[in-house]
């Protein structure tokens, strides 16, 4: 099976059938990277699940007229409408497949329990969920992440593997590979009063005047049990994984601190945390090469398509050329991280 017009049409027809089985389909609007997306979901439980990681981007106004992205999803368990396309695997722990049409217009994302077809020209995503009760933790926390990243890329907003917080409208981007301390840094800053935008993926938009803007996508966080003890305010909201590969707990911050979640911010500094085997948490100015080296690999490889990867590297180069960067060597006490970040912001402002 390859993504294409025929597969997309079959998915659209199945969604229309699901609509006829669910008379109370809500239509919600969100703002992704400053653009309006309209979401229709046949299946109330699925609709509630999908809203949680995007709740901070929810629009109170109706965005269904000429949206920049239309998302249509249905839940088979609740509507009885099966997916018209064969499943590539029944193993929920198996990686999925991504199959673009020859011209790249349509892309089909398939894994056990979910299938999505994205028409890039019409900016239309249609998706099937076998049973919303059996979504993986990853899919709950980051719904339709692959096509959503591609839609952002087509808008010239590139997904960067980074955390993002802001203070008084001044954004701090936490860069680094997995395990560097992005999540710990972002959540510690959240607890200390910063506005939270992300701890893993950020939409990066660069402007010709040198400014860069970071866009929040998901307000979900995945925290390992050993780190959860550092964040007692999250513990009552933590949802442990069910599969063997789900070794972290999922928390929707829209359930915890909805008033402290942001949608976008100007990026004024890059902070590169790293677990250091030392007592104190310290910082120093980083070179532009260090910043690019710490930010680029996981972000560029995330883009999946080589042309997009090159464009993402261009964006990151623009970012590091115009934005000061600091190395943050994390010591034994994570609670001091917000103080150090505050000091870095003071240095940048000076």
């Amino acid at each position: 099976m390859v993504g294409g017009e025929e597969a997309h049409a079959a998915m659209e027809a199945a969604f229309e059938e699901a609509l006829s089985h669910d008379s109370s389909v809500p239509e919600s609007s969100y703002r992704f990277a400053g653009r309006v997306a309209s979401v229709r979901i046949a299946g109330q439980r699925l609709a509630a699940d999908i809203d949680l990681p995007f709740a901070h981007l929810h629009l109170s106004t109706d965005g269904s007229r000429n949206p920049h992205l239309q998302v249509d999803l249905w839940d088979q368990a609740l509507t009885g409408v099966p997916c018209p396309l064969p499943s590539p695997t029944h193993d929920p722990e198996a990686p999925g497949t991504i199959e673009p049409s020859p011209d790249g217009r349509f892309v089909l994302y398939r894994r056990a329990g979910t299938q999505f077809s994205f028409d890039r020209a019409r900016r239309h995503l249609v998706g099937w969920v076998g049973d919303s009760d059996h979504l993986t933790q990853f899919e709950r926390g980051r719904p339709f992440m692959g096509p959503l990243h591609l839609w952002h890329q087509d808008r010239d907003v590139h997904a960067v593997h980074a955390g993002l917080v802001s203070s008084e409208g001044r954004g701090v981007l936490f860069g680094g590979a997995g395990g560097a301390g992005k999540t710990t840094s972002a959540l510690m800053c959240l607890e200390a009063g910063f506005t939270y935008l992300s701890d893993d993926y950020v939409g990066l938009e660069t402007r010709d005047d040198g400014h860069s803007i970071g866009h929040s996508v998901f307000c979900s966080t995945h925290v390992a049990p050993k780190h959860l003890v550092n964040f007692p305010f999250l513990v009552p909201h933590a949802r442990p994984g069910r599969l063997s590969i789900e070794d972290k707990s999922l928390v929707f911050l829209s359930e915890v601190v909805p008033e402290r979640l942001g949608q976008k911010t100007d990026l004024v500094v890059i902070v590169l945390p790293r677990v250091a085997h030392q007592e104190a948490t310290t910082f120093r100015r980083a070179t532009r090469a260090e910043a690019l080296f710490r930010l680029a690999p996981s972000s560029v490889f995330l883009q999946r398509a080589s042309l997009k990867g090159k464009r993402a590297l261009d964006k990151l180069e623009h970012l590091v050329r115009h934005t000061p960067a600091y190395c943050l060597d994390l010591g034994n006490d994570p609670k001091v991280i917000p103080d150090r970040v505050g000091e870095i912001l003071e240095q940048v402002a000076a």
Binding site: R105, R120, A289, L292, F293, S298, V300, E317, V320
Partner: protein, 145 residues
């Protein structure tokens, strides 16, 4: 000395040189590489289609090291870069830009270039492979790739 020239393996590789350090990413394998100092200078000249002779001459003018050692070092680096599929032979390509001026004030600082290979991202791509067939089209907002 060989007049052979090279160019970036455009289909698989993205690279930048910033502040004298090169970061080179193989988008197909998830492997990435770094070069600093003289290695980054050689990289810039290689992807600008300089010949081996031109590269060695440029470095020999800038450093007190012997041309023989420089030539051997550059040949080794080219071999390493080709072996990792980061550069390919340029077919009759003329230099993309004017020859780089010789680096200044570094006469005492010659260090043999060494390609550093980083493998920590390869597992990520093994789980989530790239999509070489995904093309851009008129549906992108900016028209840029």
């Amino acid at each position: 000395m060989s007049d052979r020239r090279w160019t970036l393996n455009e289909t698989e590789v993205a690279a930048k040189v910033i502040d004298g350090e090169a970061i080179i990413l193989n988008l197909s394998t998830g492997l990435y590489y770094s070069l600093d100092g003289i290695g980054a200078k050689v990289w810039e000249m290689l992807v600008a289609n300089r010949s081996l002779e031109q590269i060695v001459d440029t470095l020999a003018q800038a450093y007190t090291e012997s041309a023989q050692r420089i030539e051997a070092d550059v040949e080794q680096l080219v071999s390493d870069l080709e072996g990792e599929h980061l550069i390919v032979t340029a077919n009759g390509a003329a230099p993309m830009t004017e020859a780089s001026p010789a680096p200044e004030g570094e006469a005492a600082g010659y260090v043999s270039p060494a390609l550093v290979k980083h493998t920590d991202m390869a597992d990520l791509l093994a789980l989530d492979p790239p999509m070489p067939g995904l093309m851009d089209g008129p549906w992108t907002d900016s028209g840029q790739v």
